[in-house]
Amino acid sequence: MKTRIVLNVAPVPENSFGSRTLSWWGTIAFMSLEGMGFALAAGAYLYLRTIEPNWPMSVPPPDLLPGTLVTIILLVSVIPNYFLEHWARAYDTVKVRVGLVVMTLLGIAPVIVRAFEFPALRERWDSDAYGSIVWFLLGLHTTHLLTDLGDTVVLAVLMFTRHGENPRRFSDTSDNAFYWYFVVLSWLPIYFVLYWLPRLP
């Protein structure tokens, strides 16, 4: 079909941030489906708890220390994450490099403490349904921690190469920071379910 020109889009920019971009919406979509997975897993926990008179079934509630430590680290990490997102939007290469290194370290730290969280559950996955569901929930969140850490590491390395100067990398950094908020926020209800729910009367 023949066309007639009615609009010139040349003045429209080629790079942007947040909800103006495709990748931000892609991130939202993946957060939604992963959040749904978390919600269903937490739902399964509540379901099993409802039908089981003793909960936890044969052990005391999990040791609070490692999980709480992870929570604190994650909450603290939100502050540099906020600044990193801010610097990315300002196209500040030097600060973004620093920010990504800091966020890499703050991604590694909870993973290390997480290694102590599994034993702190005080129950193996194959002992009973309680053990199975708590390992499942913690495993699910650990997968998220690891994938975002991987993403952050790759971005950090990229930022120090010749590809780092491209505006697209700053948008990627901003999306990565956005996703980290999800990793932190999704942890809070899981933390509550794993550590505090068994302590409720």
Partner: protein, 635 residues
């Protein structure tokens, strides 16, 4: 923001030169590597569609085998073990490898064309999703052919699917097939949502979005929130089987009904993400063949959205005989009946459109009319089984088999065939034979009803589903034979369809760009569409752009002509907001799918595979995302 001189734009080039240049930018490279690297949404969607039809053929052969076995009492076509595998493979394949993927794939092909853009939002993720789907399907069928097919039904109920009743790896293959196909389905859902939200042509405000695009969008949202349930469930199942967790083990605090809740929380919306795109086909085809705008466009769109929401509140009606609390059952009876309302609204709008139009009864419309007839029957038996006492009586009988085939085949496959006849000219550039098409319709319509209507009566007479044979003193022989004859006729109708396609590809009449005089944007471009879909992205000022603009199509200028570029707009108003590059072809999504696929398969044999597989997956993902210095990697 590119460094140095101004980039080349479409304003710098003449019409012919621009077209050649944009086409070569978007063309998939030649050769095997090029073919494997394709990120063209049309090629990937076609691969999905062809693969899904092949799986349908396999599952259809399985169905005919089962019908032959049941044609007479005490038959010995297949033994009980093979029969168990057959019905499991039939259901699993039709639901997970045919119906859902093909509905999503038709969207993958036509959504970008209908909204006037050049590709989907994440083309490489799209390629990855297809490979994952293909590997999952092939794995399942290789297992079946080596006599290792799953044999516990397509919903794989526990405790039957746990290791104490199911030794070996049959149920594991089923569970991992779910993982593969759901990764694919979820990826396509995310792609579809972002494409529809952000890549619509300028001017395509919410009220100018074609109904089929709405249907694809609603479906994508449903997939996004329903499929995680079956992934969680199948992961728990495989963990119970392989590393001795106890999610479904009643003796150690687990619960069998947890499986049913999780499965049906997905499984019921699944029915609707097969059905909603089908109604999208119907609402696309009816106005074109009634030669008038859709009656009640807004009501139809709202019905789609309402159906999407309501479909999440019905799952317990699959569990009425499990002894749930009465109040809960009543709620789910009410919601199961309520969902008939938006479907009814749509049916009345279709009838009104046809009634007040000047219908031409070409093959697509015949299949649509067949759909309305069959689906109304399926819908009515649906309202019947929504009632607890009736459901208790007919649960697990052939009445339910009849009902579900009326809704799934009548409600989705008939519209799908209508869509094949309708859109084939766009995809191939050639028309299908109308004569063969009409024969195709009548053979399919008669074969289908002959196969499945008798099953209602068989069910009321007490014949249970999933029995491999029955004895001669049961009064079921005659109707079963009738049903088998119907199945053979129905299978023949698919051979006619495939013959029509093959014949048309060889010597079909040329279609031209808009053979049906349709109103949506996919008909504005050539048949088949060029790699870039549109050399100049159109501007939309109406719900029916091609009926409003019969001579020339309003379009934009100012796009770059030196890289793959798409226009990103605002969410509701679709105002141009950003020009983003679109990724060029890459082999890495295939490598990533191979690494992921091997990891999933290996994990059936050792849980350590998840650790071993992490490294190759990471490497392939880095290969995928690492910038190669092309213009498409930058902004």
């Amino acid at each position: 923001m590119s460094a140095g001189s101004e980039p080349l734009r479409d304003t710098d080039l003449g019409e012919a030169e621009l077209e050649a240049r944009i086409t070569s930018l978007w063309r998939t490279p030649r050769g095997l590597i090029g073919w494997l690297s394709s990120v063209d949404h049309k090629q990937i969607a076609l691969r999905y569609i062809v693969t899904a039809f092949l799986f349908m053929g396999l599952a259809g052969i399985g169905a005919v085998l089962m019908r032959l076995q049941l044609a007479t009492p005490d038959a010995h076509v297949v033994g009980p073990d093979r029969y168990d595998q057959l019905f499991t493979m039939h259901g699993s394949t039709m639901m997970f490898l045919f119906a859902v993927p093909i509905m999503q794939a038709v969207g993958l092909y036509f959504v970008p064309l209908m909204i006037g853009t050049r590709d989907v939002a994440f083309p490489r993720l799209n390629a990855f999703s297809y490979w994952m789907y293909l590997f999952g399907g092939l794995m399942l069928w290789f297992c079946f052919l080596s006599n290792n097919g799953p044999d516990v039904g397509w919903f794989s109920y526990t405790p039957l699917a746990l290791t104490q009743y199911n030794v070996g790896h049959r149920a594991d293959f089923w569970a991992q097939m779910i993982t593969y196909t759901e990764v694919a389905g979820l990826a396509v859902a995310a792609i579809t949502i972002v494409t529809v939200f952000k890549m619509r042509a300028p001017g395509m405000t919410l009220d100018r979005i074609p109904v089929f695009v709405w249907a694809a969008l609603v479906t994508a949202f449903m997939v996004l929130f329903a499929m995680p349930a079956v992934m969680v469930a199948s992961t728990m199942l495989i963990l119970d089987r392989l590393v001795n967790t106890h999610f479904f083990d009643v003796s150690l605090g687990g619960d069998s009904l947890l499986w049913q809740h999780l499965f049906w929380f997905f499984g019921h919306p699944e029915v609707y993400f097969i059905f909603i795109p089908a109604t999208g086909f119907v609402s696309t085809i009816i106005p074109v063949f009634a030669r008038r705008p859709m009656f009640g466009h807004t009501a139809v769109v709202l019905s789609l959205v309402a159906t999407g929401f309501l479909s999440f509140g019905l799952w317990v009606h699959h569990m009425f005989v499990t002894g749930l609390p009465r109040l809960g059952e009543s709620f789910f009876t009410a919601s199961s009946m309520a969902i008939a309302v938006p479907s009814g609204v749509q049916i009345f709008c279709w009838i009104a459109t046809l009634w007040s139009g000047r219908p031409r009864f070409a093959t697509p419309l015949l299949f649509v009319l067949g759909f309305i007839f069959n689906f109304v029957i399926g819908g009515m038996t649906g309202v019947m089984v929504a009632s607890v006492p009736l459901d208790t009586q007919v649960h697990d009988t052939y009445f339910v088999v009849a009902h579900l085939h009326y809704v799934l085949i009548g409600g989705s496959v008939f519209p799908l065939i209508a869509a094949v006849y309708y859109w084939f000219p766009k995809v191939s550039g050639r028309m299908l034979s109308e004569t063969l098409g009409k024969w195709n319709f009548w053979i399919a319509f008669i074969g289908f009803n002959l196969t499945f209507f008798p099953m209602h009566i068989l069910g009321l007479e007490g014949m249970p589903r999933r029995v491999y044979t029955y004895s001669a003193d049961m009064p079921w022989g005659g109707l079963n034979l009738l049903s088998t004859i119907g199945a053979i006729i129905f299978a023949f109708s698919f051979l006619m369809l495939f013959w029509n396609i093959a014949r048309s590809l060889m010597r079909g009449a040329a279609a031209g760009s808009n053979p049906w005089d349709a109103e949506t944007l996919e008909w504005a471009t050539t048949s088949p569409p060029p790699p870039q879909n549109f050399t100049r992205i159109p501007v939309v000022s109406s719900l029916m752009p091609l009926w409003e603009n019969r001579e020339t199509l309003p379009a934009i200028t100012g796009m770059r002509a030196d890289r793959r570029e798409v226009l990103v707009g605002t969410l509701t108003e679709a105002e141009p907001d950003l020009r983003e590059s679109s990724p060029d072809p890459s082999i890495w999504p295939l490598f990533a799918a191979i690494a992921t696929g091997i990891t999933f398969l290996w994990s059936i044999y050792t849980p350590w595979a998840v650790i071993y597989g992490a490294l190759p997956i990471t490497i392939t993902l880095i290969g995928w995302f690492w910038p190669k210095g092309t213009k498409e990697d930058e902004s």
